[in-house]
């Protein structure tokens, strides 16, 4: 009957080997398990032949017990612990069988069948458990396969999401860059509109500089003639004229200088540095530039420019380039609106663009009013939106008012409001707080 014990040991080793197959443990255990199994088989045949009755019945349970004890301690076989344990009844039955046969052969002889059935049952028990373990393992394997699949899916989704997030982040970066570019190109577009106006504004003072210096040279010649003649009084009169001319040269030189500086300031990237600014002067400068800018494009256009500047206006802490851009936008729009109305053909219509300043309750208010086409009621809400424009494609960026809003409201903690009646007038009002604390 000890055959079953050997078979049990042999099969246990074979199954352990099978169980590590296709895993990383295979290389570690393959040879040992295989040779042990062969060793078990050899022991059975060798000892079964040589000393069948004395050692062999004990050796089987002993070998099996040793394998079980060894493998139970081995962490690599931990998952198979339950299955290994099922061999214990066979070991016990094997020993009992051998022991009783040796010690009480008569008693054993009487109940041999029962003992043999016991060994057999213990053997069958192993098989029964093996089958169920195998099923469990299959299920476990199925589950782990599913788990792997799920994990793969999750990993895939995660990487998709990560990619999407990265793409979005790139997109945001791109958009920010584009926005900065747009702001700069809007600034350049408005500078382009200004160029002709600026050229005109510079040409006038330069003409004066040239003319007064030429005429002064003539006057000096005349003065020399008078001195030669001895007419001192006339010479002095001429000297006074020359002096006056030199002052005029200086005045017009400075005028040109101021215009060039203003233009450079406009084209430069905003420094965002607030400095004390004379709003009246700023408004006057940009009103003229906007006017000449438009007239350079439309020579027939003429408008009356009205300025009602409050004389008691204190200087105010603002970024002059930025507020200048806002004013330029408003003036350009105002002239455009009156120009559009001129095109409607009413011969009696006289374009008027007006700028006024006012000191009121700790705020400086700037009004820009035109008697042009006005803003239709249904677009009033949209005019501050980026890219909204009523101008034909290519003529307006649609960013003028939206940037103006940002500059006044976000940059200077001020307000910008509009009132308009379609076909009659538009009036923009900018309020800027006097206090330097405006964020």
């Amino acid at each position: 009957m000890y055959f079953f014990v050997y078979l049990g040991a042999f099969l246990l080793l074979t199954r352990l080997r099978t169980s590590v197959k296709f895993t990383e443990l295979f290389d570690k255990w393959n040879m040992l398990l295989r040779w042990s199994a062969i060793g078990v088989a050899i022991s059975f045949f060798v000892f079964g032949r040589i000393m069948p009755d004395v050692i062999t019945p004990f050796l089987g349970p002993f070998i099996l017990g040793a394998i079980v004890a060894y493998t139970l301690k081995e962490p690599d076989f931990k998952p198979l612990k339950g299955f290994i344990n099922t061999h214990i009844p066979l070991i016990v039955m094997g020993f009992l069988d051998a022991f009783l046969d040796l010690v009480a052969p008569e008693f054993y002889g009487e109940y041999e069948d029962a003992f043999q059935i016991g060994v057999l049952l213990a053997f069958v028990w192993i098989f029964a458990r093996w089958a169920s373990t195998k099923k469990q393992q299959q299920e476990l394997r199925m589950m782990s396969v599913k788990k792997d699949e799920l994990e793969a899916i999750v990993a895939e989704r995660t990487s998709e999401l990560t990619n999407q997030r990265n793409e979005l982040q790139d997109l945001v970066k791109e958009l920010k860059a584009t926005q900065a570019q747009l702001i700069q190109s809007e600034k350049m577009a408005s500078l382009g509109e200004l160029t002709a106006g600026i050229a005109h504004e510079i040409q006038n003072p330069l003409n004066f500089v040239n003319n007064f210096s030429e005429v002064s040279a003539e006057l000096i010649e005349e003065m020399e003639e008078e001195l030669a003649k001895g007419d001192k009084d006339e010479a002095l009169a001429i000297a006074a004229d020359i002096k006056q001319n030199l002052e005029k040269i200086r005045h017009h030189g400075k005028r040109a200088d101021g215009i060039v500086k203003g233009m450079l300031q406009h084209s430069r990237q905003s420094t965002n540095v607030k400095e004390p600014t004379d709003v009246n002067k700023l408004a006057d400068e940009y009103l003229r530039l906007a006017y000449h800018g438009l007239r350079a494009k439309d020579k027939s256009f003429n408008a009356e420019l009205l300025t009602r500047f409050s004389e008691n206006l204190p200087t105010i802490e603002v970024v002059p380039q930025d507020v200048g851009r806002v004013l330029l936008n408003l003036f350009t729009n105002a002239f455009y609106a009156t120009q559009q109305k001129v095109k409607q053909g009413d011969p009696k219509f006289k374009p008027v663009v007006e700028v006024a300043t006012l000191l009121k309750r700790g705020m400086i208010e700037i009004f820009v009013r035109d008697n042009g086409t006005g803003i239709p009621e249904h677009i009033k809400d949209k005019i501050m939106q980026p890219f909204f424009t009523t101008k034909p494609t290519g003529e307006g960026t649609g960013l003028g008012l939206s940037l103006s809003y940002d500059i006044i409201v976000k940059g200077h903690n001020g307000k910008i409001d509009v009132q308009s009646k379609e076909g009659e007038y538009t009036e923009f009002m900018i309020s800027l707080p006097l206090s330097a604390k405006n964020s």
């Binding site: 040409q203 027939s300 009356e304």
Partner: protein, 127 residues
Amino acid sequence: MKILVVDDEADVQPLFLQRFRKEIRNQEVEFDFALSGEEALKYLEDKHSEVVLILSDINMPGMSGIELLGHIREDFGDPPPPPVVMMVTAYGDDENYRQAMDKGANDFLTKPLDFDLLKQKLKNLAE
């Protein structure tokens, strides 16, 4: 010969007076000035018969030189001889020139003014 100069830049006044210093002293010419088209028309109400030549800037706030020219040709053409009108502009382009000539300008000068040329033209006018 009385000349009216219309320009919104006040500094053209000393400039003309000095450029024509000799001519004024010799009483060949006499200058009056207006700073806008409106002012020029007001001036002409009284003195249009005295004025021989009008030099007007085109680009001025309010009434433009072209409009002024239109008024001059409409309102002051009757008692002969009508004044000679020369338009002056910094924008010496075809469109301005065409408009000025259509409205009856006698000449078209561009800034910066060539005073020698202007003097030559005045001499021709006086003869």
